[in-house]
Amino acid sequence: MDLITISRREGLAFDIRVRHHTVTSDLSPADGGRDVGAAPVEMLAGSLGACIGMMVQRYCDSCGHGDGDVAVSLTLELADQPKRIGAIVVDVELPDGVPANRRDAIRRVAEQCVIHETLRNPPRLDVEIL
């Protein structure tokens, strides 16, 4: 795994760098940011959606439905005490022509993506303040 570095850009905005890629994360003005990037919780949900999209697209490609695009829509429900994501709601849209009898298999493919499995089986977190 390549090193991921997070460095302050401005205000509460932080750049996330990995290899030659950079994305910026920020908070909305209502939460004290300037909205120059998606919020961290939105990125977490976005990561899940991208992971599901990639896995399902690959499955559809392998089944001969690669001409169409998989699309994923997500939203979050937040919970309190402690403040956290309480639920992530995911809609996966399939390319035209994918038979209905493939849906259960596609659900299993989606649920086996790394991010989904990680959220279902939380990793050990090891944070040190240097």
């Binding site: 908070l27 909305s28 209502a30 919780v41 829509s73 979050l76 639920a87 709601v89």
Partner: protein
């Protein structure tokens, strides 16, 4: 703070959610919708709002988003097409429900 919704004075919080769900009526809903950039409350909008309203009056809480989708027959994306702020901040607000938890 107090504002006028549906032709009557209504207490709202800093995000525009009404404080007393019992003052809600269709006129209030239409004016709340305007604050969410929904200028035309279509049959689809009312389907979502009425479901949220009925659920809240029965259970004193908002339904899970997945339940809202299943019960109204709308995909998540379609809910956002109807209420650009989403089911929690947009649709629940128009339905006169309390402000949902959290910052998203």
């Amino acid at each position: 703070m107090e504002t006028t919704l549906g032709g009557k004075p209504v207490e709202i919080d800093e995000d525009g959610f009404i404080q007393d769900p019992s003052v809600w009526d269709e006129g209030v809903a239409k004016d709340l919708a305007l604050t969410e950039s929904v200028t035309d409350m279509t049959e689809a909008h009312w389907k979502v709002v009425n479901y949220l309203r009925d659920y809240y009056l029965q259970y004193n809480m908002a339904p899970m988003i997945r339940k809202l989708c299943k019960e109204t027959g709308f995909k998540l994306k379609e809910i956002y097409d109807l209420f650009p702020s989403g089911p929690a901040k947009g649709a629940c607000k128009v339905a006169g429900l309390p402000k949902p938890t959290g910052c998203v």
